[in-house]
């Protein structure tokens, strides 16, 4: 990179401009990534946090996709799943979004009904009690252990405040499954039901056989997120924006290096005439692009992390961790380098003969 370093310094203005574009796009992508993760956490963290590998939904009629809101499984379903080979545990989970109230304060919450002794329940949950997630407690005016909250028609005692679980942009309230079954409308059938069955299955489990036995449709946890109505639309559009930003940056960088390579093709011809091998010149040019990208993406990521730290203190859902910040930077560098590689490829075609005589 003998010439490349010196060109970077000599044409500072041009490279600084291009670097600034990389910084800004990386910053934007970084913030978008943090926001995407933050929104996703508010949407699905209670589901992804379940100690389970799969969820079994009530089989939807007529080939429809499974859905949390339309799913209702009977006790026979989780009994059937429990008996399946390879299934270490099968436990019912009831999910219902409703209003909770403590004194004057009301808040929309998602009530997760689980068996208190079943391993899905947070510590301290007992019949007649609830465990509030921190956000639920905060929205209910700082409810504390020992206080009471009204959920639907039930008065329940707060056993504890713990965790950050959220579902469909509402904080989670954990309740006994039996209490959960009584929250809803008076018309609920007396049969013991839940929304889904959380399965902990190993690789040997025959899931299709389980579905047939239990009358359910099984999904992995990751697949099941698509069954949360808002998640797919929200996540999809944010990922699309991110994808466009990546594509734009690759194109802009490709365009910049195309123009730059054409501008310096006379220098390339001279270097070739002097005996520079084409791989030497390609390495030089690509190294230059990677230096520019790494510097730009590094600075952009640092800014995104700094801004993210400010934001995550506030009410905006924003996740600031290594993957959300570093993955976009790595993708930026990789895609930018690909764009630059396509552009600097034209070095191969430069004829050293043009350096000679008056042909130049």
């Amino acid at each position: 990179m003998f010439v490349a370093w010196r060109d970077l310094r000599f044409a500072k203005g041009r490279f600084a401009l291009m670097g600034a574009v990389v910084v800004l796009i990386t910053l934007l992508v970084g913030l978008l990534s943090g926001l995407t993760s933050g929104l996703a956490r508010e949407n699905v963290s209670a589901v992804t946090g379940l100690p389970a590998t799969h969820l079994a939904f009530a089989a939807p009629p007529g080939g429809q996709e499974v859905s949390f809101t339309r799913s209702q499984v009977p006790e026979s379903a989780w009994r059937a799943w429990s008996g399946q080979p390879g299934v270490r545990s099968a436990r019912p989970v009831g999910i219902r979004t409703t209003d909770a109230a403590a004194g004057e304060r009301t808040a929309a919450v998602s009530v997760f009904g689980v068996e208190p002794a079943g391993g899905l329940a947070p510590r301290g949950l007992a019949p007649g009690q609830v465990v509030l997630s921190e956000k639920a407690a905060e929205e209910l005016g700082g409810a504390k252990a020992g206080g009471t909250v009204r959920v639907g028609r039930l008065e329940l005692t707060v056993a504890a405040v713990s965790g950050t679980a959220a579902y469909s942009h509402t904080p989670v309230v954990w309740a006994d499954l039996r209490d959960w079954q009584r929250i809803g409308d008076p018309g609920t059938s007396p049969e013991a039901v839940a929304t889904v069955v959380a399965l902990d299955a190993d690789g040997s489990a025959d899931l299709a056989a389980g579905d047939r036995a239990a009358g359910t449709t099984v999904r992995t946890i990751a697949e099941a997120l698509g069954a949360i109505g808002s998640y797919q639309a929200e996540n999809g559009s944010l990922q699309l924006m991110r994808g466009f930003l990546f594509a734009i940056s690759a194109l802009v960088i490709g365009a910049f290096f195309t123009v730059w390579t054409i501008q310096r093709s006379a220098d390339v011809a001279v270097l070739k005439a002097l005996g520079a091998a084409t791989p030497y010149l390609l390495k030089d040019a690509l190294g230059q692009a990677v230096v520019l990208l790494a510097a730009g993406a590094g600075l952009g990521t640092a800014l995104a992390a700094g801004l993210g730290a400010l934001i995550s203190g506030s009410d905006v859902p924003f996740v600031l961790d290594a993957p959300t910040v570093l993955v976009p930077a790595a993708v930026m560098i990789a895609l930018g380098a690909a764009g630059a590689a396509l552009s600097v490829r034209r070095i191969t075609a430069v004829d050293p003969l043009t350096a000679l005589g008056s042909a130049r």
């Binding site: 003998f2 010439v3 010196r6 060109d7 310094r9 000599f10 044409a11 006379a266 220098d267 001279v270 270097l271 070739k272 005439a273 002097l274 005996g275 520079a276 091998a277 084409t278 030497y280 050293p352 003969l353 350096a355 000679l356 005589g357 008056s358 042909a359 130049r360």
Partner: protein, 227 residues
């Protein structure tokens, strides 16, 4: 023989037909001697240098540089041959804008995989030899035309070439500076024992050359013999 062209013919595509730039050209240049090629514009002088520099492959004939036949060489091998054995002094100085005078020379070492930093001393010695000791850290835009041309010459010598090819080095210079550059080339050829080919249309200093040949329409002739 350090540089040998034997029966070299070169044509360029020219519309439907082909234009003959070199027509059965033969030339031998021993080490430590300087051969001048004179002739009108468009007669094929630069083409002769291009063939000798392995920048273009002739249609037929043999090109031997530093004892090696270039015909069977790959593009990469020709690049290596240019780096190690051929010095080219371009008609335009063709310096790289971002490099200082010393770096223009150091990059030659870098191309050959030698540590450029350690060869700075040699670069400074060469710049001293062309009278630019005090300009080592100047970039091309800070140098005059004559100074740039001298950097161009010093660069061609950086990798100690056995063959030195010079294309109209004085065309951009006034008479006095042109004479100085020619003096320099004569001295360097003797000192460093290069086989030098000098293309020029400036007939003023031909008596300083070991040999002068004339190019007309792609054919070489010895003017002394012709006279």
């Amino acid at each position: 023989m350090t540089l040998l062209l034997h029966d070299v013919t070169l044509t360029y595509p020219d519309g439907e037909s082909r234009l003959t730039a070199l027509d059965a050209v033969g030339l031998e240049v021993p080490a430590g001697t300087l051969t001048a090629v004179v002739g009108p514009s468009g007669s094929g002088k630069s083409s002769l240098l291009a063939v000798a520099a392995t920048l273009v492959t002739p249609d037929s004939g043999r090109v031997v540089v530093a004892g090696r036949d270039t015909a069977p060489m790959s593009a990469a091998q020709k690049s290596a041959l240019r780096r190690e054995h051929i010095g080219i002094v371009f008609q335009q100085p063709n310096l790289l804008a971002s490099l200082t005078a010393a770096e223009q020379l150091q990059v030659m070492a870098h191309l050959s995989g030698r540590p450029a930093r350690q060869l700075r001393r040699r670069a400074l010695e060469l710049l001293d030899a062309v009278g630019l000791a005090d300009k080592a850290d100047k970039r091309p835009h800070q140098l005059s035309g004559g100074q740039r041309q001298r950097v161009n010459i010093a660069r061609a010598l950086m990798n100690e070439p056995t063959v030195l090819l010079v294309d109209e080095p004085t065309s951009a210079l006034d008479h006095e500076r042109g004479a100085a550059v020619l003096d320099l080339l004569v001295t360097l050829t003797r000192e460093r024992s290069t086989a030098t080919v000098l293309v020029t249309h400036d007939r003023a200093h031909l008596e300083r050359m070991d040999r002068t040949v004339t190019m007309t329409d792609g054919r070489l002739a010895d003017p002394v013999a012709a006279a």
